[in-house]
Symmetry: C2
Subunit: 254 residues, 2 copies
DNA sequence: CGGCTCGTTGATCAGGATCAATTATCGTGG
DNA sequence: CCACGATAATTGATCCTGATCAACGAGCCG
């Protein structure tokens, strides 16, 4: 993992969990002081990871547990001949490495999509957490189930939807997630995926992704410029993807 | 859910968890008496479900938690126009409805593939379990991660593998799972999937599934007769699917 | 300026979808 | 025991979505 060691350039590294700016967002449920104190006690580092490098490498054992503090990342698996499947994308507040930390070796890799900041939690203390902090343990399991549910949805896309439907589904689901984090202003948000990322996530070729992508743009579903995506027609995009509005209840932030 | 109410025809319904025949299998890790006693106290029913009916319906709220005691099942999602994606298959000893029980409403359905027996656990007491039984809570989370890891693998199949590779991957992964349960004798095991099930799991059309399936049979990878599948060439099948041998550590049985 | 990576666009190809017809397989009732 | 209808599997013909090949333009960095 590529890491900045010079913490002096990381003003937020010193911020206590109780004053975590993420926690203030409406996407996340409130926590008791005790829970926050325990989280703080588990936190062993605050790291910067450069875009494109692994936060957890495939096959890594004893990977720590992370919370994505800022930036985007994704989970992926590769086949021996190099084919890569992106399993799901990770946004700020998402937990990262839970599967790797419970199972013995990581079955997947996690790579930083943008420059990223992560909170690092001691893997050894996860067990401690289950013993002492049932609320947090429950929330950990909850977050795991939520991630599975996202993978489920991606599997539906790749297995059943056409190329255009897949892109529409990807775009709205990311839009909605960004929205709950307050990252959307005026229907537009920072969209850091390359077309190669989309292709690998959707099970499409790079070329076909490009063609379908620009077809949907010409159709007026969305616009893309300067790394920002503007969802011009959310209704139509959602309908094209058959992706239901699913109200987002505040979720736990570990 | 279609249920037999006449328990008299269910001799195993009265068997205490401590004498659970599944528990004796090498696939499952040993448990303390305390843990087993708690599991027993959570168990509120032992039900038979007919093949083809839902154990958990899509959108169901307050679904209970189950362990699959005997038979096969699968998780699935459907799109409004009827397209169906099978997310993963469930074999005896697998937990079922964990996601539905943690999240508020079930995002998927679970259907019995064969006639099935399930142990029913009180959903209300799951929280109790997290408070009192950290070991079991940890194992629940572990089982959740394991299921996610299976969905991950299916997503790799559907996103990256060719039709033949997908079928090969499905066949071996089911073979291996059946093997750990002692269901395989002489390289062959009961294989209850219809071609429609395979098609829906692999994101292929029914017709193409049939053609590829018989091509692989003619190629000598496996044979299928009388509902039993015989894996004639496990090595080649595994290589075709690029599915690595992954040693199975004993897993928790709740 | 050259050498990257990334996106775009056109031409061609093929894997798998769709359509259609036939053949087991099986449970059910006469 | 057989006839029947329903469901599941097979096979051939044709079509089309999306893969592959190839060339080119745009932005970016050294």
């Amino acid at each position: 993992m590529l890491v900045y060691t010079d913490k002096s350039r990381l003003p937020r590294a010193g911020t206590p969990c109780s004053a975590c700016p993420l926690r203030a967002k409406p996407a996340f449920a409130d926590k008791t002081v005790d829970d926050i104190a325990f989280i703080q006690s588990m936190k062993i580092d605050h790291r910067l990871v450069k875009a494109g490098s692994d936060i957890i490498s495939p096959g890594e054992t004893d990977a720590e547990l992370f919370t994505l503090f800022a930036g985007w990342a994704y989970r992926y698996k590769t086949l021996p001949d190099g084919r890569r499947q992106i399993l799901n994308f990770l946004l700020p507040g998402d937990i990262l490495g839970l599967q790797a930390s419970l199972l013995s070796a990581s079955q997947h890799g996690i790579e930083a999509l943008t420059d990223v900041e992560v909170c690092v939690f001691s893997r050894r203390r996860v067990w401690d957490l289950f013993v002492k902090m049932p609320t947090l343990a429950y929330e950990l399991a909850w977050l795991g189930s939520r991630e599975e549910s996202m993978v489920d949805e991606n599997l539906v896309s790749v297995g059943q939807r056409s190329a255009a439907e897949r892109i529409a589904a990807l775009v709205i689901s990311l839009f909605r997630r960004a929205e709950t984090l307050g990252l959307v202003s005026d229907k537009s948000f920072q969209f850091p995926l390359s077309q190669q990322h989309m292709a690998d996530a959707l099970g499409l070729s790079l070329v076909h992704t490009s063609k379908t992508w620009s077809r949907l743009r010409r159709a007026g579903l969305f616009a893309f410029a300067g790394g920002r995506l503007t969802l011009l027609n959310p209704r139509l995009t959602a309908r094209m993807a058959s992706l239901f509005e699913r109200e987002m209840t505040p979720r736990p932030l570990i």
